[in-house]
């Protein structure tokens, strides 16, 4: 099951231009998930 990181994948991971857009994308996505709210569980699930 082990998958080593290929050269192409590594290029994408470390390319500053691609990663700049990834930074914007991640910032927004994380903000939505984390700041998207939280609440209780005891009256909503069952």
């Amino acid at each position: 099951m082990t998958q080593r990181i290929s050269k192409y994948q590594r290029f994408k991971m470390m390319n500053p231009i691609l990663q700049f857009f990834k930074f914007i994308y991640l910032s927004i996505k994380i903000m939505i998930i984390v700041a998207g709210g939280h609440g209780g569980t005891r009256k909503t699930n069952h």
């Binding site: 991971m13 470390m14 990663q19 569980t41 069952h46």
Partner: protein, 485 residues
């Protein structure tokens, strides 16, 4: 006029005090009692531990800020709790002892209307024989002073490697029931990258040792996550990273004793083994602070307030792993006996672990304790503060704000190497933190899409951006409250 006492000035205590001060008028008194003189942004300790960030960059003194903002600050430690007062004092209070200055050693009854216990964990190094930061070639990154010592120790080994001496580096958990695997995970990747930067990587054998059953458990029972266009288990992701960086691993290991350069451990097979090292960073177990509580007649009522950590609105019924549910986890962090006491962050007693409990063939418990990182600590502290604010304003108890870890997302931006162009980070989000197998039965209790992983340079920038944003927020600079917890 109400008096709210906050014990502790870490992420949780400081967040609570900041919001209380901002939202309550000055006729209400906010008191922070903490033995620490500085606020520290703990997630950046990793970079202190590899010598890439000075401790001064991750801390600031609390006293000037609290004075400026109108928060009463006592540099003291809590000793015992008197939630009904005593024969002489009708109001509830916390007996506190000053730790510095002219009042050092003096005890004071700090009375309150509302109490927020945000004392966090005790770093229980004593639970593992010989695990002492800075001794026996073992170090910690749990505080900025520990992390600074760790860098000194690591740098010494790096210099030896430059002179041609091979070295073994061991990083992970230092107790069978330790938590905070994420911090150790970050540290091992940062150390590995620093060794490459110093051109000594080929001189070092790096090994991960952990009480996890599988890689990527992180005390959260692992997770199934979106990774690019794939769906991947966290164990597969971490295995890929470790293989890529030539890091070996030992799993299901309950470290129980440290000697000079030697870790003794038992694994889930019941085998008793040792692992030698020239440098080790091992996370200790966490425990409560051992506080005692008394009623107004001075009878011991510790069991009403503490179960190691503080008892809150969780379901502490003992039941098998298969019957655990998200409903067991607290929503308001309110003590059920004394309704004016709350314990957000790491100070509350969890109902059980998140990872599946496992025993070795000898009957030793070896599994991670549940982690509660900065993000849930901040969120729970804010909701506790908001409930207290509402209660004060309405003149009656209000618990409208709720935040169960079973209905809360968290982001873990794990640094995997420092550097604006050479750095890397592993961005992982998890929703919910505690898996909800009822809502998400086919995806290991988590929502795919909201639970995802990304590896790359952007992760490092993100972690650095969060460092600056949260330091700005902690310093309560203009519009600090716009930055979410």
């Amino acid at each position: 006029m109400s008096k709210i006492v906050v014990l502790g000035a870490g992420i949780s205590g400081h967040v609570a005090a900041s919001h209380l001060r901002r939202k309550l008028s000055k006729k209400h008194e906010i008191v922070v009692v903490s033995p620490n003189s500085n606020y520290q942004w703990i997630p950046s300790n990793i970079w202190v531990g590899i010598g890439r960030m000075k401790p001064e960059k991750i801390l600031f003194p609390l006293a000037p800020l609290y004075k400026k903002k109108g928060i009463n600050y006592k540099q003291a430690k809590a000793v015992s709790f008197f939630p009904e007062g005593d024969k002489d004092e009708t109001k509830p209070y916390v007996l506190s002892e000053y730790v510095v200055g002219e009042k050092k050693g003096q005890q004071e009854k700090v009375t309150y209307d509302y109490l927020i216990n945000a004392t966090g964990p005790k770093l229980n190094f004593e639970a593992t024989e010989g695990l002492i930061p800075g001794q026996n070639k073992t170090y910690s990154v749990c505080t900025y002073t520990h992390a600074d010592h760790a860098w000194q120790g690591l740098n010494k080994v790096i210099q030896q490697m430059k002179e041609g001496k091979k070295a073994k580096i061991l990083i992970g958990t230092g107790h069978a029931k330790a938590t905070c695997q994420g911090a150790a995970f970050e540290y091992i990747l940062n150390v590995e990258q620093e060794l490459r930067r110093h051109k000594v990587r080929d001189m070092a054998e790096i090994t991960w040792i952990s009480n996890e059953y599988q890689l990527g458990d992180f005390g959260m029972d692992g997770m199934l996550m979106s990774y690019g266009s794939m769906t991947m288990k966290s164990s597969e992701m971490v295995e890929m990273i470790f293989e890529d960086r030539d890091i070996k691993w030992i799993l299901g290991a309950g470290v129980n004793k440290i000697e000079d350069g030697l870790a003794h451990y038992e694994n889930l097979e019941g085998e008793i083994k040792t692992e030698s090292f020239d440098f080790a960073m091992l996370i200790p177990s966490f425990s409560g602070h051992g506080f005692k509580a008394y009623d107004k007649n001075n009878n011991d009522i510790t069991e009403k307030l503490f179960k190691g950590f503080m008892i809150v609105d969780a379901d502490y019924t003992v039941k098998p792993y298969e019957e655990w549910s998200v409903q067991d986890w607290p929503e308001t962090y309110q003590n059920p006996t004394y309704k004016n006491i709350f314990a957000p962050g790491i100070a509350f007693a969890p109902p059980h672990t998140i990872s599946k409990p496992r025993q070795s063939k000898n009957g030793t418990d070896i599994f991670p304790a549940p982690p509660r990182t900065g993000m849930p600590s901040g969120i729970t502290a804010k909701l506790v503060a908001d409930n207290i604010i509402d209660s004060i304003k309405k003149g009656e108890e209000s618990l409208h704000h709720k935040g169960s870890m079973g209905n809360m997302g968290a982001a873990c931006i794990a640094s995997a190497g420092y550097g604006m162009t050479q750095g890397s980070g592993i961005s992982i989000t998890t929703y919910p933190i505690v898996p909800d197998y009822y809502k998400y039965p086919k995806t290991q209790g988590r929502k795919l899409g909201k639970t995802f992983g990304e590896i790359g340079l952007a992760g490092h920038w993100l972690k650095l951006a969060l460092h600056h944003a949260f330091m700005y927020k902690a310093k309560m600079k203009p519009f600090w409250w716009l930055i979410p917890e």
